[in-house]
Point group: C2
Chain length 365, copies 2
Amino acid sequence: MPRAYNFSAGPAVLPEEVLRIAQQELCDFQQTGSSVMEISHRGDVFGAFFNETQNNLRVLMNIPNNYRILFLQGGARLQFAMVALNLAKPGDTVDYVNSGHWSQLAMDTAKQHAVVNEVVSNRLEKYTAIPEEKKWLRSAKAAYLHFTTNETIHGVQFPVMPTIKNDVPLVCDMSSDFISRPIDVNQFGIIYAGAQKNVGIAGLTIVIVREDLLASIKRSDIPKMLQYATYADTDSMYNTPPTFAIYMAGLVFCWIKKQGGIAAIAKRNEEKANWLYRVIDDSDGFYSAPVKAPFRSRMNVVFRLANEKLNELFLETAQAHHLMYLKGHPVLGGMRASIYNAMPMDGVKALGEFMQAFAKTHLSH
Amino acid sequence: MPRAYNFSAGPAVLPEEVLRIAQQELCDFQQTGSSVMEISHRGDVFGAFFNETQNNLRVLMNIPNNYRILFLQGGARLQFAMVALNLAKPGDTVDYVNSGHWSQLAMDTAKQHAVVNEVVSNRLEKYTAIPEEKKWLRSAKAAYLHFTTNETIHGVQFPVMPTIKNDVPLVCDMSSDFISRPIDVNQFGIIYAGAQKNVGIAGLTIVIVREDLLASIKRSDIPKMLQYATYADTDSMYNTPPTFAIYMAGLVFCWIKKQGGIAAIAKRNEEKANWLYRVIDDSDGFYSAPVKAPFRSRMNVVFRLANEKLNELFLETAQAHHLMYLKGHPVLGGMRASIYNAMPMDGVKALGEFMQAFAKTHLSH
């Protein structure tokens, strides 16, 4: 089959060049006579690749030396619990910004382990914006403030990061816009991200943690596998890490370097998103984007057809044009085009042109 | 490079045929125009593959309908904690058989969450056998009995499974001999196995759990991501599962079917292990296997050179013959040849012949 344009929210599109490299060397990695899947995580060959991968990410994101990069399993979902377990003692208050489905779930998970203060919620406005900071009700003393830079389902993205107050660490789920735009890592206590959107494949979670937070809490009731210190102390090799997922991340980081780094990627992401939102806004109401302009995600473009009866036809016709996985998440309905780093501009243009043609055909009837 | 014979303990050798299939379809899975790494775990294409993979394992292992098959992350190491958290209430006693490095670690982890009774230990005899059951001191009332069918480091394997007593569930770490020989699943409460030895690649753990155990304990303090019920209730899709690792497992299960199933694989494993142990036993003391014959692992053949000064030369010369990763685990030293399902008889013969030639050369000096 010709290569499809894959708008899946995750697992998501990978750079075609990365897939070709993985394919080419799948049976023989660096002339070892073995696949990268088959070699020991503690051997020299994988060790060198792993170090290079870590270093590439550090350079790409300009991660300061007082931050550790950890490679974990379990997805962002496990981080929802680990953040609370590692940073809050029982009875501690933790602040959560509720800007969509995933921040709500992160907050619900934290309730099991700490006292949660919902700083602000846009639930009643259906998560179509992020309320301005002056409306937030922060705790006097929180163990951390948690937020979700980009809501994959609702298509809401923080245009700028929250302000740090009283040295409360910012803890951030960056799963769906990690390495998609430059950020200042110094502003964060912890950044975590599932890999299956911008980094690589499902089964790997990257955690960037400020070193002083590793030592802050020692709770003997937390399983060692859920303690950040376990991974920091062993360079993420307490047990066998997901070596192939790390390998894919490594290839993706090299690809980003070749694209000119994260600033260059961010510029393209901006162009891609603008292109699609323009098609929606210029459609005379055939399509609409619910999220208010300043908060529209550059990663997940959420939109609806005014005539919802056309939804199925829209999806089927798109699929016939190799434009795949455009159906919105069930909790929201409608459509969603996920246009992560690896989605080429050509894919976005193909989708935009298809949407225009589809609107033209069905407006006239 | 020509394909190496890879004796790594894990991540370990995969069937060459499986690697070729993965390579061939890496960029286009089932004519979707996308890689299997890129498609949604909730879509039809992955869903069908996932169901087939589960069914194949159920048929291969003859898993009864009152057992659930779960696909998790975190390795056997996370299971060390999950077993105790899910099956024991605080204060409950749990029984552990200590037959080597990994059962000791499983036991140490459980101590954090339950009262551990070490039923028997062979530590003082350096884990060279499994003490007979009549010497075991089981608790009057244990939440479960945990054992490790095969010790990857010490090369000790249970020739027959422990007896069930007082309906205490048998819980078993089968990471390094899973699907390597027929077993009666009915004898077990829980079987768990990291995938990176016989199943596929690192980053996937398979858990087979008897349904009545899912409901037995509800501890509100356990993170949902660590509750077996979470995965059972969602068919392992509570969050994004490690799709590519599941795909590789699926290919491996198909390959085992083509080999004639687990009984046929077991027969070959027996032949492979016997071949190597014979080379060791017939070496006039040049090589020795520390483990007593009835308990010698069919998966991890542990041996030493009488003259340890030759260790480095042995490893270097082996490597020059494409016989890789033969160095023993640091806690034990010496040599180890892991000969999982995917290691062909030709690889074992090549190793055996190399060992004989090496012994001949260095005995005569």
